[in-house]
């Protein structure tokens, strides 16, 4: 039996800055909580293809698993948590500057 589809967001690195970005309904954001949550597999695949075609803006787009809490996406894997929050050795990086 195929595995049930779990909620996803499209994420990538920004071409110029190299930092982590997430796809929204009409563009990109640096905040995971603003990302568009994709709950339909076909829709998610389509959105990923659209993102991957933006070669002069983003690098390495992929679908990342999320859970939805209070209507907002949150990471389900620690790798995505670090991508969203920045390095854990001490608070620095673009994510800190966004706060």
């Amino acid at each position: 039996m195929p595995k049930a589809f779990t909620p996803k967001v499209v994420t990538a690195n920004h071409l110029l800055a190299g930092d982590v970005i997430y796809q929204t309904a009409d563009g990109w954001t640096r905040k995971l909580e603003e990302a568009e949550v994709l709950t339909d597999e076909a829709d998610a695949d389509l959105r990923l293809i659209e993102a991957s075609q933006q070669v002069d803006e983003v690098v390495g787009a992929y679908l990342a698993d999320v859970a939805v809490e209070d209507g907002k996406p949150v990471p389900t894997h620690f790798r995505e948590e670090f991508r969203a929050k920045g390095p854990s050795n001490y608070a620095h990086g673009k994510q800190v500057e966004l706060q």
């Binding site: 800055a17 190299g18 982590v20 070669v55 390095p87 990086g93």
Partner: protein
Amino acid sequence: MYSYSEFDTAFLAERNRQFRAQVERRISGALTEDEFKPLRLMNGLYLQLHAYMLRVAIPYGTLSSAKMRKLADIAERWDKGYGHFTTRQNIQYNWPELKDVPDMLDALAEVGMHAIQTSGNTIRNVTADHFAGAAADEIADPRPVAELLRQWSTDHPEFQFMPRKFKIAITGSPNDRAVTKAHDIGIRMVEHDGARGYEIIVGGGLGRTPMIGKVINDFLPEADLLPYLEAIVSVWNQIGRRDNKYKARIKITVHEHGIDEIRRLVEERFVETRKTFSGVDQQMLREIEGHFAPPAFVEADTAPYTRALETYPAFRAWSDTNVTPHRDADHAIVTISLKKHGATPGDASAAQMRLIANLAETYGYDEIRISHEQNVILPHVHKASLPSIYSALKAEGLATANIGLISDIIACPGMDYCALATARSIPIAQEIATAFDDLKREHDIGQLKIKISGCINACGHHHVGHIGILGLDRAGVENYQITLGGDHTEQAKVGDRVGPGFSADEVVPAVERIVDTYLELRSDEDEAFIDTYRRTGLTPFKAALYPETKVAAE
């Protein structure tokens, strides 16, 4: 120190001009990421977890104060005010923006530095003993040979598209501080009957399949070095596995064919390569050696040093751990710890880099080294200057007296920065260092090397740590495997895995149990951890780490 010739300068300017144009084409969309990636990697530019990362080569770990100041300037102008020194004696900038990288490379070129071949399937930065030219136990300074290898391997047309990356290390001392047995090629300068030559070790490496290198030639005459190395790389380039990247390194080639067959093939190829070297390489080596002439060591009274030792216990503690005997009795080698308890191993701020540059200029004959253990060395310091150096370092948070102790930990960037990592390394190092500092136990524990990697690629050299820690992803949770008894020296050994891994929270208690076991078992205070381990083996440590297993077995 080697100074660039007109040829070097022109070559670098042209490479930087090419890369600037490549970056422009990528930004304009004329190049896709697939087209651009191999070009950026050839110039040391990675795309990591949070940002681009520029890895700058520090050939054989040698810097001048001008170079160190430039590294500080770059950190401040185009990064976040710090740099990270690595286990290949390089420096990494964790936060550059793509458009700025060509300017960063031009700034590096101003002081004869570059990022060429710090990535990709090429011959990487040649590493060397960080005490080279200063060590009391040295046969010869290996850096001229390392510089010759840099020139030979840079843009070598035959070796730009190899099966995998290729790493070379060289030591001029019988006490191996350059981890030569864990390199694709390790070179040990040796003397036989008064004649100098090289012992060539091949097929060592860490990573997914750790291997200790094997001697392919126990005495290679000096003049044969480049043709012989060219023969080795050439043989591997031809028969190395390109079908599977995990089997592509020369260690696997040596393992699959056997060292005797590899030796035969290399000797066969060497007959051909030897003819193509007319002796120009040896002339070049003689010229390069001129750049590495030892400084004119000053003579001065060492009484200020002796007085400070007697008067200031903190200075004495620092001197005991961070100062190493120099080949000149009135001089010393200073190791500046980049392992302040709780800090990120290998990180240095721009202010710290500038202080080190100033100290090198004022007291250290303008010489600086980076160690593969992620510390900074002032290789030539008159003992009379040591108290002044200590005070200056202390003011900038650089006087931690812990070289060789449990908090002097090698840690790769791990999942805090690295896109390949499967778990974090740095926070584990921070926690271990802080825990043992809180208990003020590390001087009692003595020499103990912990090395941590955040994935099986083993950039943190965990296989050869006395205590090795490997971070993995086990079903979405960070999990840490521990190995014991690894050794990076001339007695190189891959550590023994103790058993099932530990969660992140369990690592510090596990290390504490290992240390407690050692303290109970050691014959006296002079028996170092590694010696106790060699004597007792894994069993008592395993019993301490997994008491429930022992109970179940009884």
